[in-house]
Amino acid sequence: MEITKVLPDDCISLIISLTSPRDACRMALLSHAFNSIADSNAVWQMFLPLDYIHIISNSSSPPSLLSLPKKDLYFTLCYHPILSHNGDMFQLEKESGKKWYMVGARALSIQWVDTPRHWTWISLPDSRFCRVAKLKNVGRLEIKGKVKLNTLSSNTNYEAYFVFKLVRDRYGFRHTPVELDVSIEGTAAGEVRSVILDPPRNMPQQAKERVDGWLEIEMGEFFNGFENDRTVEFSLREDHDDQPKRGLIVQGIELRPKHKNNR
């Protein structure tokens, strides 16, 4: 029994779409019949996020993206983040098709950010966003952000990361921890993490270096269920010691699906 003689093409498409993008790529090389089915729009449309049309239409990307074959669109979205009109950035995670999301500094609520004495907006070539916020001097640090859960992939555990840099001329972060918090509005607050962003060399560095040269520190995690009109809120705070702080550059907060094994 050869499967293509038993099952119609749309059944085979359905089966392939229930595997994974990686499997679908592999299956394009099985046989002639599978080649066209595995590369078809019917299959790859299922790997794209449900609201991909909405995302692309509300972004700075050309609408011609929508006329690409769905497989090409999928990989384009994996390798080329989409900048939406409200300043946030979308990308797809290759293995699963789930969304990566980043809120840029401009879209965060940073206390005193528009006062030139305290913060300044600069442009760095290795940032994904055109502008990042650089801290000149504050006594109390407060950075908040929020994201509507229905913009993210449903049925997914997400981790939130604060993406930042510290310049050479910095102070206030070496001995004083900042408090990081992630919680879904309307639910009980999650654990508040207390971390030192700039530990001395003999102390463990909790922030990790990213591929793009920036640092990231995990703020917390949350689960995005199926029906979700709610918002998830993030905050980074240091408002206890009132000591001056300087030299932090904020790129934004990135949300990524959580994985048990680290690649």
Binding site: M1, E2, I3, D10, D23, P62, P81
Partner: protein
């Protein structure tokens, strides 16, 4: 189901039966509420007034043989009972799909023809779980698929949307291999004049190319004309590629939006009114998309060509994996799997070792 449908299957009614006929001629009667669980049967009864007697038995689609019908009716008989809990249904489903792959496929097909979507979803998920993560050879074995993609088709160049140098190298490798395959093919051709230098006029060649793309002879003869065109394109591509390379420092990492957008604009302006991003990307990021990619190598200064050849062979050695099936996967996903050896033959072509023991 519509209100009319519901009226037909009120439980207070006398137990009635629907008559069904499978493609082999066999006629059987089935409890009404069970049969009506299938949309296709429901439609036949309601819309066409069929199935009420032996003479008006509903002809089932060919994909539904008696064995499959029996299974489907078991499924319907269980699920059409309204009082069951989700847990019960799930438990039934899990036991229900325990059957060999062949039957699963037949069942999917039969359920599909009866438009019984919940069962199609159930069996499709089961089949998806079976093939997930398996290698192409394993899947071919399970589904009895012929390995009927030609070597050439498997060597189609990969789209290089990120200008990944590995993909560029791989495409070169493919091009080289395709060229070898073509050469081998041509050696089989009796006509010796194909080997001679072609001195037809440019126009002749152009019309030949346009009229006869699939012919291997055509490709060979059109080489001289295509060479000139390719040279220009190659130079254009190279300079564009250089421009892109300067902007995209990390082909595997995240791209910078500002800069990619800038480049995108330059490219778009250059290409004029082409609104199709796909074409633009192809021109810029793909080095080649036609079988005569091997021609590019002929253009280049021999010293450079040798360097490139060495690079390609070195790459081939380093690849060390099950190609070409894994290649597609690896370079789309950047994940190395268990290696399989292949080495170079004396004449520079690649040979693959059997890999069944090496997994």
């Amino acid at each position: 189901m519509s209100e009319v449908d519901m009226a037909v299957i009120k439980p207070e009614m006398m137990k009635s039966y629907i008559w069904l006929q499978t493609a082999d001629g066999l006629i059987q009667q089935v409890e009404q509420e069970v049969a009506m669980f299938c949309p296709m049967i429901c439609h036949e009864v309601i819309q066409k007034d069929m199935g009420s007697s032996k003479n008006y038995a509903i002809s089932l689609p060919q994909r539904v043989n008696p064995a499959m019908l029996s299974l489907i009716l078991d499924y319907c008989r269980f699920h059409q009972v309204p009082g069951r809990s989700n847990k019960e249904r799930k438990s039934f489903d899990e036991k229900f799909i325990r059957m060999d792959t062949k039957r699963l496929c037949e069942l999917t097909s039969a359920a599909d023809s009866l438009q019984l979507k919940p069962l199609v979803d159930l069996t499709s998920r089961a089949l998806a779980r079976i093939i997930e993560g398996k290698s192409p050879e394993e899947i071919r074995e399970i589904f009895h698929l012929p390995d009927d993609l030609t070597e050439e088709e498997k060597l189609e160049p990969l789209k290089n949307t990120t200008d990944d140098p590995r993909i560029r190298l791989l495409n070169r490798l493919y091009a080289k291999k395709r060229k070898e395959l073509q050469e081998r093919q041509k050696l089989k051709n009796i006509e010796v004049e194909e080997e001679r230098v072609d001195d037809r006029s440019v126009d002749d060649l152009l019309s030949f190319i346009n009229g006869d793309n699939g012919d291997s002879k055509g490709i060979k003869n059109s080489k001289s004309k295509k060479k000139n065109r390719r040279r220009k394109d190659q130079q254009k591509n190279t300079s564009a590629n250089e421009a892109i390379k300067n902007h995209n420092k990390e082909p595997n990492g995240l791209n910078q939006v500002c800069h990619s957008a800038e480049v995108g604009q330059k490219v778009r302006a250059g290409v004029g009114a082409t609104s199709n991003l796909h074409d633009v990307e192809d021109d810029i990021f793909d080095n080649k998309n036609e079988p005569d990619d091997g021609d590019i190598d002929d253009e280049i200064d021999p010293a450079l060509k040798e360097k490139i050849d060495r690079e390609v062979e070195d790459f081939a050695r380093r690849l060390n994996s099950d190609w070409p099936e894994r290649m597609q996967e690896i370079l789309s996903f950047g994940h190395e799997r268990k290696p399989v050896h292949f080495s170079l033959n004396g004449n520079g072509s690649l040979r693959r070792y059997a890999n069944s023991e090496q997994r």
